[in-house]
């Protein structure tokens, strides 16, 4: 049985089709679901095994990136979301999806509360930037990177509001709980605060975090943009022959198969 993947769409979603393809290629059965279908009751979240909030500019990222969608989710789909999470089903937020997850409260605390413990704020550069970065995969219980611990991978970032920011107490809590999944690294595999290796000035070079159970992952880089060898800008130089974004989708699908 192929796990059904709900790729949540709304006004301004724009990485949905490549995410759709990434999950299908990884053995899932992708479905594009507009939020209006969930609000009207035409579709139910629990009909799906994996929930993905893809990248884009939901509602233009007005006020804050992902904010308007986060408000809509917490206002109208709170129960469904909480149900989905409690049922132990994986949730993935990529770029704008990550911004939505922190603004609903699902990250870092898996609560659809609208209480914001950590935010993704404007890049230090003040600019939207699209570039390839190196990432270190930390040791965590995150099911999306199962067996990929301490690998270093390259992915593309494309965002203007990707600086992971929170107060020292919350940051320590996230670190202590081992919820940091990805960090921006420089040459060698050391986390860095230096631009452009750390493209936005994220605290502790955080590029992605998960919740305490490892079932909810939010990340700024775009794994769906590296599911084919030729996505890598330097594939012609002979290195990097593995498509390094694919494992994330495959792990999620494999986990869902065993749920």
């Amino acid at each position: 049985m192929k796990p059904r993947v709900c790729i949540l769409r709304t006004d301004g979603t724009n990485c949905d089709e490549e995410t759709f393809y990434a999950f299908n290629k990884s053995g899932g059965e992708s479905k594009l679901v507009h939020i209006n279908m969930l609000r009207s009751g035409e579709k139910k979240l629990l009909d799906y095994h994996i929930l993905v909030i893809p990248g884009g500019f939901s509602y233009g990222d007005d006020v804050h990136s992902g904010k308007i969608l986060a408000v809509e989710l917490t206002s109208f789909l709170k129960e469904q979301l909480q149900e989905f999470v409690t049922a132990g089903r994986p949730v993935l937020g990529i770029c704008n999806g990550f911004q939505v997850l922190v603004r609903t409260g699902l990250l870092p605390d898996r609560q659809v509360s609208g209480k914001i413990k950590a935010a993704l704020i404007h890049n230090d550069s003040g600019r939207f930037e699209c570039r390839w970065v190196k990432l270190l995969i930390e040791k965590t219980n995150c099911i999306f990177v199962k067996n990929n611990e301490s690998e270093q991978i390259s992915l593309q970032v494309a965002h203007g509001e990707g600086k992971f920011y929170t107060d020292p107490a919350a940051l320590n809590k996230i670190e202590a709980a081992g919820q940091v999944v990805f960090r921006y690294t420089g040459d060698g595999s050391f986390p860095t605060a230096e631009y452009p290796a750390n493209p936005n000035g994220s605290l502790n070079a955080v590029a992605g975090i998960c919740d305490s159970t490892g079932l909810i992952l939010g990340m700024m880089p775009h794994p769906e943009r590296f599911i084919d060898q030729i996505h890598y800008p330097n594939w012609r130089r002979g290195n990097q022959l593995k498509s390094q974004g694919e494992a994330i989708f495959r792990n999620a699908v494999n986990y869902a198969k065993e749920m």
Binding site: G60, I68, H122, G126, C130, D167
Partner: protein, 944 residues
């Protein structure tokens, strides 16, 4: 009563907006008195309680983890000066709708909402004149923005609907006719007289709506009078320009062309039942007075062109090509009424960025060119490319009884007279008179519309679709109904605010609107799709078998025109053109420079050669997951590739290649050879990455001064160049656009002609994206081969000669040899014999070599024959030539048999470039000394 919420970052969270502005103030205005800038967003809501405002502040506007807020009180403390900047009333602020939606989701229902930004300036010695300079040059574009001195009493725009008026044209003499035309209709006397006699025959006077409809339909922008005109060149009649291009195209009988020049974009066959299409547009006039909104709406417009192709296409790529004066041009050299190029460049880039990125369309091919004579008006070119099912790639015809369905954004007063205004010259008064012709785009609205159209199209629910571009409903509905006839009830059009005159609704160019022809039985399904995707849709009327354009407003007929008069009543213009062949033969030959490596650095730092990476990084070029040859590659990701290669069908090997070429410098010297160069460069760029020259098609964009005899003579020569290129290569033009208003007229009568630009875009298909190459050198020890024909002494128009202020022989391209060179390069790449390839353009071999070295992190040793002039060898810019890296074992002589080729050196592991004349070393330079000037300029302009 209005509630105000002010939100600012906690100091430890920083203020990138403030820091960025401070950088600009220091860098571009040289003002040092300001030590810090803090910014705050101001949100205003009409008719909610303070308690509700506080709820919104906490749940929507301010995030405690990094922000502070205040209610109806200042939030930024202790500043010497605080300035609030907001959009003018009536200029649509895209954020307002989101604010109302999110507030409603939280149970707070406001009558209206708005947002603006507040800048707090800190510094003991700030002078008022500093603040005024900052406001004028960096903060406020008075076309759309203003400084808020007093908080608004209401955010709601009120107005009373007015009716249509008759214009007493029957009584008018020629002077009065031209008064009516000038600054509004931009029609000439002959055309005004035609209109007069049409209505005399009809025995009545026209309504304002009818006059506006005719002016829009007959505008240069919409009807291309010059390109269709009967031409008398130096006393001899020649085929009209457009006809020449179309004939050349049809003569090629190119098997892949599916539609050329007839649709919103040109369409060619792709693979597996799919077709790809391309359209390139200019948006010079709006961008000249409001670069951000102008570039945004330029992108939005060309995206809708692709969206409106056939029965609806998905936009898969965007390109951007700009021409400005040098960003460091002294302010006193900028003509009155014109904006500074440094401001224009940064704001245009921001506009393209914000539209393409938010719509999720990768912007991954483009270029920026600089020439002093763009100081009065920039050239802004935006392209869009799409994919659609082959069976739906031909435009549908509305049938009698089909409904006119308008979907997308609402109609406002914005963008009125865009079509007519962009057909006129730019003057000092352009800014004030035509400010209504500019607006801010709303990419999210267009994304919704695009999702809806593609969904409806794939379901086969659309008979015909077209975009609301120049001329608004008037153009879209008028053209769609031109075969049948159409009747519209204009009051059905949803408005942004009340008070628009009927004719304003009719010709308004409000963005993000499309018009569909839908069979009555399909209406409900289309409406269902629209409502699911939050797209507003309204039936405006019906196509009738009347051959008439009838517009009613609240029961009163305000327009009743014969389609035949509207679309065929415009007589073919007869236009005189002349050109005198410029003589560039007796040019003085200067001795080679003493210090070649210094010249090398100067050329690398020239704005036309320097790296544009900081611009490209701001564009999302990876979205849609289709990019497989990005704008930049190489070990540090800073080596520019000649074209972009996309894989529009995920999971298939098929590639689409997109490239372009232009050379304003050369074009100004000689439009024929400049135009040949542009075409050769466009195709070379595509071939250099692996494109098959037999599967490429072309798009032309002529951006020309107002067509007086001389400029028209130049235009004629440019078109001849295109036609000769088509004949020599068999590559067809399948779409094009002319914009003939690149002239500036000052109040003192001074006339400034902007350099004539011909931009050629090329796109095509590639069987397997793995058979493509990048420009970065792959390894030390490879051979470097120069392939293609060039005469090194033909240095005219080169960057080197421009730097030295020299005239020279023009690079003459041998089309036959060029064509064969294309084939050889393509074959070699297909066989995997080429490791890296870069075509030769601005900066010559020197620039190409340097970029390939940067990408590989390695160097080269170049050896030339003793009799070769090293400066000509390095800096000649003849298009159609290539530098290729090949394994030293490959027999390049066989690979390139039949075309000129020579091995010029080898790659080496040292990061340096050295040039030898025989055994004699002429120079040796470290890559770092070339990278610095090459990257420096744009890094400074964009604070990267």
């Amino acid at each position: 009563m209005i509630q105000e919420v002010r939100v600012t970052n906690r100091s430890d969270a920083g203020d990138p907006v403030g820091n960025g502005l401070l950088y600009d103030i220091n860098t571009f205005l040289g003002i040092k008195s300001i030590t810090e800038i803090r910014t705050a967003k101001i949100y205003r809501f009409e008719n909610i309680s303070k308690k509700q405002a506080d709820l919104l502040a906490q749940k929507l506007l301010a995030e405690e983890v990094f922000q502070l807020y205040s209610l109806n009180a200042p939030v930024l403390q202790g500043a010497q000066r605080v300035v609030e900047v907001a959009y003018k009333p009536g200029v649509m602020n895209p954020e307002a709708a989101s604010l109302l939606k999110a507030a409603a989701d939280l149970g707070v229902h406001a009558d209206a909402a708005g947002s603006s930004r507040e800048y707090a300036f800190y510094g003991a010695k700030i002078k008022e004149k500093d603040i005024l300079a900052i406001i004028e040059h960096l903060l406020v574009n008075t076309t759309v923005e203003k400084v808020v001195d007093q908080a608004p009493l209401s955010l709601i725009i009120r107005g009373n609907p007015t009716t249509s008026e008759f214009i007493p044209i029957d009584q008018m003499n020629d002077i009065q006719l031209m008064e009516l035309s000038s600054e509004k209709l931009f029609l000439n006397l002959e055309e005004m007289r035609l209109i007069q006699s049409y209505f005399k025959k009809a025995g009545r006077n026209p309504t304002d709506c009818e006059i506006e409809t005719i002016a829009q339909t007959w505008s240069e922008h919409c009807s291309h009078k010059t390109f269709k005109a009967k031409l008398i060149v130096n006393g001899k009649e020649k085929t009209p320009l457009l006809k020449r291009l179309q004939q050349a195209t049809s003569e090629t009988r190119h098997p892949l062309v599916l539609s050329a020049f007839v649709d919103n974009s040109g369409v060619m066959d792709f693979y597996d039942g799919w077709a790809i299409c391309g359209k390139v547009e200019t948006h010079n006039s709006p961008s000249a007075i409001e670069p951000y909104g102008g570039a945004m709406t330029g992108s939005g417009g060309v995206f809708r062109d692709v969206l409106g192709t056939g029965q609806g296409a998905k936009v898969i790529a965007s390109t951007d090509i700009f021409c400005f004066a040098h960003p460091d041009t002294p302010r006193e050299e900028i003509p009155p009424g014109c904006l500074h190029p440094q401001y224009l460049l940064r704001r245009v880039v921001a506009g393209v960025r914000d539209y393409g990125n938010r719509m999720g369309i990768p912007t991954n091919n483009g270029s920026v060119h600089f020439h002093r004579d763009f100081r009065a008006k920039p050239t802004i070119i935006v392209g869009a490319y799409g994919i659609l099912p082959r069976e739906r790639c031909i435009k549908g015809q509305p049938q009698t009884g089909d409904l006119v369905l308008a979907i997308g954004g609402r109609t406002g007063r914005d963008g009125i007279h865009g079509a007519t205004f962009s057909s006129g010259e730019m003057t000092e008064r352009t800014t004030e008179v035509n400010s209504s012709a500019v607006q801010i785009g709303h990419p999210i609205e267009e994304k919704r519309v695009s999702d809806a159209i593609i969904k409806a199209s794939l379901a086969g629910l659309i008979r015909a679709v077209t975009d609301c571009g120049a001329g608004g409903f008037s153009s879209a509905v008028g053209e769609m109904g031109s075969q049948t006839g159409v009747e519209v009830a204009l009051e059905k059009a949803p408005l942004k605010y009340p008070g628009l005159k009927p004719w304003e609704i009719w010709v308004s160019e409000s963005q993000e609107r499309m018009v569909l022809a839908v069979a009555p039985e399909n209406l409900d399904s289309v409406l269902e799709i629209c409502s699911l995707l939050n797209v507003e849709a309204s039936v405006l009327g019906q196509f009738k078998d009347s051959k008439k354009l009838v517009v009613n407003y609240l029961g009163e007929t305000i327009c009743d025109l014969q389609m035949s008069f509207l679309h065929h009543g415009l007589p073919q213009r007869v236009m005189k053109a002349s050109f005198a062949k410029k003589d560039c033969t007796d040019v003085k030959i200067i001795p080679p420079p003493a210090d070649l490596s210094l010249l090398y650095q100067r050329v690398m730092g020239h704005p036309n050669v320097c790296s544009k990476e900081p611009i490209v990084r701001m564009y999302d070029h990876g979205v849609q997951g289709s990019c497989c040859l990005p704008p930049f590659s190489g070990i540090d990701g800073d080596c520019p590739n000649d074209s972009v290669v996309l894989k529009p069908l995920l999971g298939y090997p098929y590639g689409m290649v997109i490239s372009h070429g232009l050379n304003p410098v050369l074009n100004t010297i000689d439009p024929y050879y400049g135009s040949l160069w542009a075409a050769a460069e466009a195709v070379s760029n595509a071939v250099a990455v692996g494109a098959n020259p037999e599967e490429l098609v072309l798009i032309d964009n002529f951006i020309w001064p107002f067509p007086d005899q001389e400029s028209l003579g130049d235009l004629d020569r440019a078109v001849d160049a295109c036609v000769d290129f088509v004949h020599a290569t068999g590559m067809p033009f399948i779409s094009g656009k002319d914009s003939l208003s690149s002239t500036y007229r000052g109040s003192d009568g001074t006339l400034l002609k902007i350099p004539p630009v011909l931009c050629i875009s090329a796109f095509g298909r590639i069987t397997d994206v793995k058979k493509t190459v990048s420009a970065d050198f792959k390894r030390p020890g490879s051979s470097i081969i120069l392939v293609g024909k060039r005469e090194p002494e033909q240095m005219g128009g080169s960057t080197y000669y421009e730097l030295e202020g020299l005239e020279g022989l023009l690079p003459i391209i041998n089309l036959e040899i060029m064509n064969l060179t294309f084939k050889r390069i393509h074959q070699a790449i297909g066989k995997g014999q080429i490791l890296a390839c870069h075509d030769i353009s601005e900066g010559g071999i020197a620039a190409a070599l340097a970029e390939m070295c940067f990408g590989g992190g390695i160097g080269v040793k170049i050896v030339i024959e003793t009799e070769t002039r090293p400066d000509f060898f390095l800096f000649n810019e003849t298009a159609g030539c290539f530098l290729v890296e090949m394994d030293s074992g490959t027999d390049f002589k066989t690979v390139f048999s039949g075309v000129p080729h020579i091995k010029i050196g080898n790659t080496i592991s040292q990061r340096e470039i050295s040039l030898y004349s025989g055994d004699n070393e002429l120079f040796r330079i470290d890559l770092g000394l070339l990278i610095e000037p090459w990257k420096g300029l744009m890094q400074r302009v964009f604070n990267a």
